[in-house]
């Protein structure tokens, strides 16, 4: 099951995208119950593509909260595909795709 949930809706030629990425976003500064630091693990890059074209890009850092919620707009129409992918500090990636409603 993907870690990314996307909702994309078109109105007047503009697509409203809302997305929530489930991610721990550990800064590497927090200490666990054993007193040791929890290793850092956070999303570094987020990319949104529509029809093979990048429509949104973001460089995250440790100031972004756990389970980041992101909303943006781009010019598009109903039925377009929206693909959102992220890469994190441990080299892991995930992606999800949906159709604009």
């Amino acid at each position: 099951m993907t870690s990314i949930r996307i909702k994309a809706k078109e109105r007047n030629g503009s697509v409203d995208v809302k997305t929530l990425m489930k991610h721990s976003m550990e800064t590497g500064l927090r200490k666990g119950k054993d007193g040791k630091k929890i290793p850092e693990h956070w999303i570094t890059d987020v990319t949104a593509e529509s029809g093979g074209k990048v429509v949104f890009q973001a460089a995250f850092n440790t100031t972004i909260s756990k389970d980041p919620y992101l909303a943006f707009k781009f010019d598009g129409k109903k039925g377009d595909s929206v693909k959102i992918s992220w890469k994190d500090s441990q080299g892991k990636t995930d992606a999800a795709e949906t159709k604009v409603k």
Binding site: M1, R5, K7, K18, L20, K33, D67, Y69
Partner: protein, 327 residues
């Protein structure tokens, strides 16, 4: 007073008229199955109480966005300070536990029951059974408990296993620890209930730990004096000879300036180890040293303590006092 009286009398008259006439409110009539069904809306974890009907995740998405998302958030993340419905997995035993449907709730049936009973906040019990199934299914989907193909109905809904169910268990501890007595029981009148409100800590609280602690708590000084060394001034009572009693006044005037604190190497009064070797020399030698002065290894004893107005007997008396104090 008048108001409460009138309310009571209205209530009373209603009851009377209902009993006698089975009036407009139907008080006194037997509840029909249909009436009971209207009240019997609870749903149990095993699915008992769930009605016929079904709903899908896909149908629930639209309903959720229209009726729920304004408070609970599009993804169940919670708008503002409204309740969060999803996420929080693995946070229950941390400093900031997030109790959501997915991370905390033991049974999915509570979703159906609660939504049907109390949601949406502005229009409770306005949802149909199918709508309730759909919204419940969508919230389970937001928590990754079911996939997006899930169809919720009476059978499938009762089979949903919640991730945190195992952490709920029946508390089987007894109400009272003691065995119940049926035969030859003690007379309750003879029971004495004793409470110990005696300062912050109950008396004898430390008795089982160790004797030293018990002594210490009860203010018994013997534990402290046992560990004292012979270098410390003894607190035991000394019986003085007559000469020593006479010497005490002289000591206070002329000798204690040095002999109470040990200035210039003077042996402190009461310091047994310092006095042992001196007492062994005999009183005569000590008296001669005190009257005429003496240069020892530790320091100087001036003649008569530097106070030449003292008679020899005064000095002898004072020496006796010091020696007897330090034996």
């Amino acid at each position: 007073m008048f108001k409460s009286l009138s309310v009571a009398s209205v209530f009373f008259s209603l009851v009377v008229s209902g009993t006698l006439l089975a009036g407009p409110l139907g008080i006194g009539t037997t509840a029909t199955d249909e009436v009971i069904a209207g009240w019997d809306i609870d749903v149990r974890p095993d699915g008992m109480g769930l009605p016929v009907g079904e709903g899908s995740v896909a149908a629930g998405e639209g309903l959720y966005e229209a009726k729920c998302a304004s408070c609970h958030g599009l993804f169940g993340e919670g708008e503002g300070r409204w309740p969060v419905l999803s996420g929080g997995e693995g946070t229950l035993d941390t400093l900031h536990p997030e109790k959501t449907v997915g991370s905390y709730w033991p049974y999915a049936s509570t979703l159906w029951d609660y939504i049907h009973r109390a949601m949406p906040y502005t229009a409770p019990q306005s949802l149909t059974d199918d709508e309730t199934y759909s919204i419940s299914a969508y919230i389970l989907y937001l928590n990754d408990i079911v996939d997006d193909e899930f169809i919720a109905n009476k059978e499938t809904f009762a089979r949903v296993k919640m991730p945190n169910e195992a952490n709920f268990y029946v508390d089987n501890r007894p109400d009272a620890q003691n065995e119940r007595c049926f035969k030859n029981c003690a007379d309750p009148k003879l029971f004495e209930i004793v409470t110990t409100i005696n300062g912050v800590t109950p008396t004898g609280h430390f008795k089982e730990d160790s004797g030293v602690a018990a002594n210490h708590y009860e203010g018994n000084p013997s534990a402290a004096s046992e560990v004292g060394t012979s270098n410390e001034i003894s607190t035991t009572k000394i019986v003085f000879s007559d000469t020593a009693v006479l010497g005490e006044g002289v000591y206070d005037k002329a000798c204690q300036a040095c002999h109470s604190s040990g200035i210039a190497g003077a042996p402190k009064t009461g310091d047994k180890t310092a006095w042992v070797s001196r007492i062994e020399q005999g009183m005569d030698i000590l008296n001669v040293h005190a009257i005429n002065g003496y240069q020892g290894e530790d320091g100087v004893m001036p003649a008569k303590g530097g106070n030449m107005s003292l008679s020899n007997d005064d000095v002898i008396n004072a020496v006796a006092f010091m020696v007897e104090s330090s034996r």
